[in-house]
């Protein structure tokens, strides 16, 4: 039996992107919530709840990008020019928020500036990621081995909707994370935002889901004809089940359940995109196999990944374990 390396790699890249979205998602969400939870002490607490792990979270983005270059170089070299503006905006946003973690403790008079950078950078990066996702779902035009569309093709009502959806979704992840990791005022305020963003996320998931099948006949077929129609029942039902647990967790004042339910939202939406996309890497032009690098490249990196990825999950998990529990307001290395 021949091993389908391109298929395995598509799965691994999808895993890296999902890991990025749910991990950096909650710390970006904390950044977006930054100005809405008042008080210097509250903000120190919010920052310290993600400070030890944000860097590892963001590394999944580098794996997503670097991995795409390694195993799907053609997809990488058409997607990035096609999404030029949102990607540059995302990078600028990530710069501002990334340095804020250290800078705000070193600044005295200009601390507000880095607080603003943390918020603005998180918001911009999230919006850009959402818009980029929407633009990819819409499809990218290719001629030969290069992007052939216009420079503003990424900007459409649909991509703006997905941008907003991701912002609200990350707020949900961030606020449920804070419910889990903090106590007192920050927790109670975050809980309020969790309710608000949960309704928002559900509504936006609905809107995006209803719109998507009409972007592309392939998507419509996938969801509304043939054997794959089963997903049309399964995926939304699971979303509703997660919503049930999310609201119950919030109502009962549970710590972890709301966050885990919010993660389930993201995993389900991601699966939904996967169902629409397959077997395309770049819809509607490139399949997984057309975009893949030669097998020698795929197998060389796969050998190391089989060893290294479990190790990475192990020590990343250990790092989360070290910083388990509620954040102690007196902690931090500063």
């Amino acid at each position: 039996m021949e091993v389908d390396l391109a298929f395995i790699w598509a799965g691994l890249i999808a895993f890296a992107v999902l890991a990025y979205v749910i991990l950096d998602g909650f710390d970006l969400g904390v950044g977006i919530l930054f100005p809405f939870i008042k008080g210097e002490g509250s903000r120190d607490l919010m920052m310290n709840s993600v400070a030890p792990v944000w860097d590892g979270n963001e590394t999944w983005l580098v794996l997503g990008g670097g991995g795409l270059l390694a195993v799907f170089p053609l997809a990488y070299s058409v997607i990035l020019p096609a999404l030029y503006a949102p990607i540059i905006a995302m990078l600028a946003g990530l710069i501002f928020r990334g340095v804020a973690f250290e800078f705000r403790w070193r600044a005295s008079k200009s601390r507000w500036l880095w607080d603003a950078a943390f918020f603005g950078g998180s918001l911009l990066a999230t919006l850009a990621q959402g818009v980029a996702l929407g633009a990819l779902v819409q499809g990218i035009e290719i001629e030969g081995r290069a992007y052939a569309g216009g420079w503003w093709d990424w900007l459409t009502p649909f991509s703006i909707l997905t941008g907003i959806a991701l912002v609200v979704g990350y707020i949900l992840l961030g606020s449920t994370w804070l419910v889990m990791k903090t106590e007192g005022f920050v927790r109670s305020t975050a809980r309020r935002y969790a309710y608000w963003s949960a309704y928002g996320t559900l509504g936006l998931i609905g809107a995006v889901s209803l719109w998507t099948p009409f972007l592309n006949p392939t998507y419509l077929d996938r969801w509304f004809s043939g054997p794959t129609t089963a997903f049309t029942v399964i995926v939304p039902s699971l979303v509703l089940a997660s919503a049930f647990f999310l609201f119950r967790g919030l109502r009962e004042g549970q710590d972890a359940l709301p966050f885990l339910s919010a993660l389930a939202f993201f995993i389900l939406c991601f699966a939904g995109i996967g169902i629409s996309f397959y077997p395309y890497m770049v819809p509607p032009s490139l399949t997984i196999w057309q975009a893949a690098a030669p097998d020698d490249s795929l197998s060389f990196l796969l050998v190391g990944s089989v060893v290294l990825l479990p190790l990475i999950l192990l020590y990343s998990g250990y790092s989360y374990w070290v910083f388990r529990g509620k954040v102690d307001p007196s902690e931090g290395y500063h």
């Binding site: 400070a51 030890p52 792990v53 860097d55 963001e58 590394t59 580098v62 794996l63 990008g65 670097g66 991995g67 795409l68 270059l69 390694a70 195993v71 170089p73 053609l74 990488y76 070299s77 997607i79 990035l80 020019p81 030029y84 503006a85 990607i87 540059i88 990078l91 600028a92 990530l94 710069i95 501002f96 990334g98 340095v99 973690f101 250290e102 800078f103 403790w105 070193r106 950078a117 081995r145 290069a146 992007y147 420079w151 690098a293 030669p294 020698d296 490249s297 060389f300 990196l301 990944s305 290294l308 990475i312 020590y315 990343s316 250990y318 790092s319 070290v322 910083f323 902690e331 290395y333």
Partner: protein, 476 residues
């Protein structure tokens, strides 16, 4: 002025300027963190071994600098990992199958390791035991070195490609991974770069130590860091000269046009002189106002007084690197390298005959001045090697002009301006904060406590207060 206006509308030139600008900023951060991470591991190891709290104070101090620099390295590095796709998409498509997996290994073996243990190293002291904490510090240090390994493998492959074939859609494909990773220039480049990172850190650490010693010659933590830095300079700077020389011989073998530009030679000659200074003029194909030492150029590069050195005229004009930039950046790097050797030896003399380092005022002042030397040398060295391989991205195989994304100039100009504004403000502020932390110096809390006898602490309120008031720098 026409040249400048043309560049503003030339996508290739804009993409090159953007890459040069973003990577110049980026490269100084990892260069510093590679050295600092190893230094932190040494400090924590010394603390665990000798139980002298001064090493812990130094560790806590340099940890702060490390955290800021590392943060800037991470975010500027993310830009690099996407810039290949945004601005150099044709290159990415063609070279991705070969260099992509190497970068993939950098992420898997280095970035995750650094990031995963960084949190424990920075924030976990109260949560894990000293052994595990030391382990975390070691993993961060090892991660930075793994990162250097893979990224230099990538860069070296682009300079001296090996182990590849071509497929029918024009992509470079791997044929022999061993030959790809350990390509001809890789060992030299890796050693040269890692030593450069260590020297850069040594001179930055040395400058901070020297600065505080100049203000207080009894500052023990400052003396220790200055002394350690000077040992590094005395031992590693001469080694770097040797490594650089070997790297040069390797370049002569594989990239002779780069050597010709570095040396400012347009004519092929036997018994070529060493041009110390001059103004290479690519138009006239001559190095003006050359100050030369006869035959030394041939001797250094071929180890034969009458050896033949190829001049730039051996290649068609469109295949030559621009000579003046390469020539001058090379001289700046070498000049700083020799200055480092000098400082190292000078410190040895003071240790042996000069009555100790703390009183060597002139050496201390010189060391403060040399603080940025490593960064400047690395940038100069990088310009030498990267501009020297032009007009190719993959030496001899893929031209820079054929590597760029199918973008129009306004998009590239816009992103260039954006990066320019963001980088100068954000990283400018970061460098200011690093200097601020450096100026504050390490806490001498534990040392003061040691000077006050424990039982006196209760009955000598003055001394106790004095030691408490030092506090912890950057608290909160």
């Amino acid at each position: 002025m026409d040249g400048l206006m043309d560049s503003l509308f030339d996508p290739v030139m804009l993409a090159r300027i953007q890459f040069a600008f973003t990577i110049s900023f980026h490269i100084i951060f990892p260069a510093f963190t590679i050295g600092l991470a190893s230094y932190l591991a040494v400090l924590e190891g010394l603390w665990l071994w000798k139980k002298d709290s001064v090493f812990l104070d130094l560790f806590d101090f340099w940890k702060k600098v490390f955290a800021i620099v590392f943060g800037m390295g991470v975010v500027s590095g993310i830009v690099m990992s996407y810039e290949f796709g945004t601005n150099w998409s044709v290159f990415s498509d063609k070279a991705g199958p070969v260099i992509g997996p190497l970068m993939g290994y950098e992420v898997l073996s280095a970035f995750f390791l650094e990031a995963g243990f960084l949190g424990v190293m920075l924030f976990g002291k109260e949560r894990v035991g000293p052994g595990l904490h030391f382990f975390a510090t070691l993993m961060v240090a090892v991660g930075t070195l793994f990162s250097a390994f893979w990224i230099l493998s990538v860069n070296s492959w682009m300079q001296t490609p090996a182990g590849y074939g071509m497929n029918d859609v024009g992509q470079f494909i791997p044929v022999d991974w061993w030959a790809v990773v350990f390509n001809p220039s890789f060992p030299y480049r890796l050693v040269h770069m890692v030593l450069a990172a260590y020297l850069t850190t040594a001179f930055a650490v040395g400058a901070v130590g020297a600065w505080h010693l100049l203000h207080d010659r009894d500052n023990r933590p400052a003396l220790i860091m200055f002394s350690m830095a000077m040992w590094m300079a005395a031992l590693v700077a001469p080694l770097q000269i040797v490594a650089g020389d070997l790297h040069g011989l390797n370049t002569l073998e594989h990239q002779p046009a780069k050597i010709a530009a570095m040396e400012g030679h347009y004519e092929t000659r036997q018994g070529a002189p060493l041009i110390l200074f001059g103004l290479p003029d690519d138009e006239a194909e001559v190095t003006r106002y050359a100050v030369e030492i006869p035959k030394l150029g041939s001797y250094i590069l071929t180890h034969d007084w009458d050896g033949e050195l190829k001049g730039l005229k051996s290649w068609p004009k469109e295949d030559r690197p621009p000579a003046a930039l390469v020539f001058w950046s090379f001289r700046i790097m070498v000049g700083l390298g020799f200055a480092m050797v000098l400082i190292g030896f000078w410190s040895l003399i003071h240790r042996r005959w000069g009555g100790g380092l703390a009183n060597a005022r002139l050496l201390l002042r010189a060391s403060v001045l040399m603080g940025p030397a490593g960064f400047v040398a690395i940038l100069a060295g990088w310009i030498t090697t990267e501009v020297g391989r032009q007009p190719f991205t993959i030496y001899g195989l893929l031209r820079t002009a054929e590597s760029v994304s199918p973008l129009e100039a306004p998009a590239l100009l816009g992103s260039l301006l954006l990066f320019f504004v963001v980088y100068t403000t954000v990283f400018g502020a970061g460098i200011y904060y690093v200097l601020k932390v450096m100026a504050k110096g390490p806490s001498r809390e534990s040392e003061d406590e040691m000077q006050v006898p424990t039982r006196a602490a209760g009955i000598m309120p003055g001394a106790w207060q004095a030691s408490k008031s030092h506090g912890h720098p950057g608290q909160g």
